[in-house]
Amino acid sequence: MSGVPGDPLEGLPFARSRAVETFAELMFGPKRLEDLAKQARGETRKNFGRTMRLFAPLYLSNECVNSCQYCGFSKENPIRRVTLTPDEVESEAKYLAEQGFRNLLLVSGEHPREVPVSYLAQAVKRTVGLFPSVAIEVAPLATAEYREIVAAGAEGLVLYQESYDRAAYAEMHVSGPKRNFDERLGGPERGYAAGFRRIGLGVLVGLADWRRELVALAAHVSHMMKVGWRSQITLALPRLRPAAGGFQPRVAMSDRDFVRAICAFRIAFPQAGIVLSTREPAKLRDGLMELGVTMMSAGSETDPGGYTGVGKGRLHRTVRGREVALEAGEWEGAEATEQFEVSDGRSAEELSTVLRSRGLDPVWKDWDRAFAE
């Protein structure tokens, strides 16, 4: 594959496909970005119309047993932590519903004791009454565990591989269950088998050579579209943001390359959803609205209790995974630590105004749990 060092699919259980070749050719070939953008806009309109689906993340817990170099929630980081109670989850959910959201993403660190599967199922149950569509973004689970979450009413599963490069993956994930590359890689298929209808794949840009990572992601998308033919596949390529721990991205990807990647994915996979979070700055997000992105978050907080302040009373610090109480005075106004700093801080209403001004209709509800009940 020209323009990509080595074989990006080495060691991965994905076959090459026409779509993957198309992606690589558009991404690394001679075509002008402006031409790609025009074509991508046309494909987006044809397949998704002049609309944008909106969603919000709700962080349940920032407790984590993993030590990962790039993540603010890493066990090594002496941050303020908390796990929301089901009542607190509902308070946060109510706030987001009042903001207009009808599509919710429940996010959590990995902590089998603090955040067991039964807790996740409970969190889903407490939010499905407020949201026609609920998805989860948590550590990979077994098929039977995913079934529990689906039975509770969730329809979407988000599980980013972070990196498809085994060496970089091993280096980044220092300790904890997340070190198991293959268990994570098989998660989306187990989720599909368990009945999730919307499956989100992604790579965290900044951990390894992004050219190889993007081709691997394309191959994963292509693979899931065959294996999970009844599911809607979405993809994302979040770029690393500043977070606790101070990790510096190993490789940078320019805005220009990022935009090109969105366009290339759109053209190579015309029916895949593309998700863009508030990690990216407002100007870039606005520019990408028409070029391929189909789902955006807004007004996001990336700490548990970040929307309403719930859970503040139970904050604690962990030092190498061991819980220590906060020192006197440290409580004053303190909130749980966020996973990463949001770049686009605009509210849902502000983003909707921009969408409308660009001739895009914000869509809040595009699913109903009545379909799968």
């Binding site: 044809k46 002049r50 029916q271 809040w364 699913w367």
Partner: protein, 266 residues
């Protein structure tokens, strides 16, 4: 004297009469205003709304309800079950739609594949059978499959809605050969649904003798949706007018106006 064909005949689906032969979908529009303007300009009497975008809880959630944007006095709202993957799901949704106050008319869409949105014939037949027995008027979205069309007719489908090409593809009547057979054999209206990307495609379907067409993407994503809706309206009317006027048969070679074997009669 005005031409006879200018006063086009109405048509009937189930127990209702209609004039317009253009049905509109309501997804993918850049704004509610643009959608409403397009509906107006199209002259459509039947519009489809995805139940995915309707509030089915009965709370009339303004954030989650397309229905509030469509005047039920002006349009027959045809709920579609897009998103359903099985007969069981579609049947449940149809019942919920009625409970939410929608008419007992359903555009039955069962496509387990969310990419090409191709309809599942087996589940569609099953769901039609169940819903017809419950008194629903069912308009099923199907592959251009003449045998399936007859089977649906037998279990009481009010129309058949074969696809011209995959949804959103704008490729026109690619399934022409099969749709011709369906039009020839059908005793219920044949409405060509999906894939029509230009007014000429709609005219083509109507010239073939289709009873109506359903259009969404081509109008919704046009630079000027209302103007495109008007163009489709004219395309549909022109095509129908051509069909009713009686098109000449198409020939592969030129026909001599003076017969070559005329000497035999001399």
């Amino acid at each position: 004297m005005t031409s006879q064909v200018a006063t086009q005949k109405g048509w009937r689906i189930g127990d209702r009469d209609f004039h317009s032969r253009l049905l509109l979908g309501t997804g993918k529009f850049p704004s509610v205003g643009a959608m409403q303007a397009a509906l107006e300009a199209s002259g459509a009497e039947i519009v489809t709304v995805a139940l995915r975008r309707v509030d089915l809880t009965g709370r009339k959630d303004p954030q989650a309800d397309m229905l509030k944007e469509i005047d039920p006095a002006k349009y027959l709202v045809l709920a579609n079950t897009s998103g359903a993957m099985s007969a069981e799901e579609a049947v449940r949704l149809a019942r919920l739609a009625v409970a939410a106050g929608l008419p007992k008319w359903i555009k039955l869409e069962i496509h387990p594949d969310p990419r090409y949105l191709l309809p599942d014939p087996i589940e569609t037949l099953k769901a039609t059978e169940i819903l017809v027995k419950e008194g629903f008027t069912i308009l099923p979205y199907i592959q251009a499959d003449p045998v399936l069309a007859k089977r649906l007719e037998e279990v009481g489908a009010a129309t058949v809605m074969p696809l011209g090409a995959p949804i959103g593809s704008n490729r026109g009547v690619e399934t022409r050969a099969m749709i011709e057979i369906m039009i020839e054999q059908s005793q219920v209206p044949v409405i060509v649904d999906a894939g029509l990307g230009a007014p000429s495609h709609a005219a083509e379907a109507m010239e073939m003798g289709a009873d109506g067409v359903l259009v969404n993407t081509a109008i919704a994503v046009a630079e000027d949706p209302a103007a495109m809706a008007r163009a489709f309206r004219l395309g549909v009317e022109a095509g129908r007018m051509g069909y009713e006027a009686g098109l000449g048969p198409t020939q592969r070679t030129a026909m001599a106006t003076s017969p070559l074997t005329g000497f035999l009669d001399e």
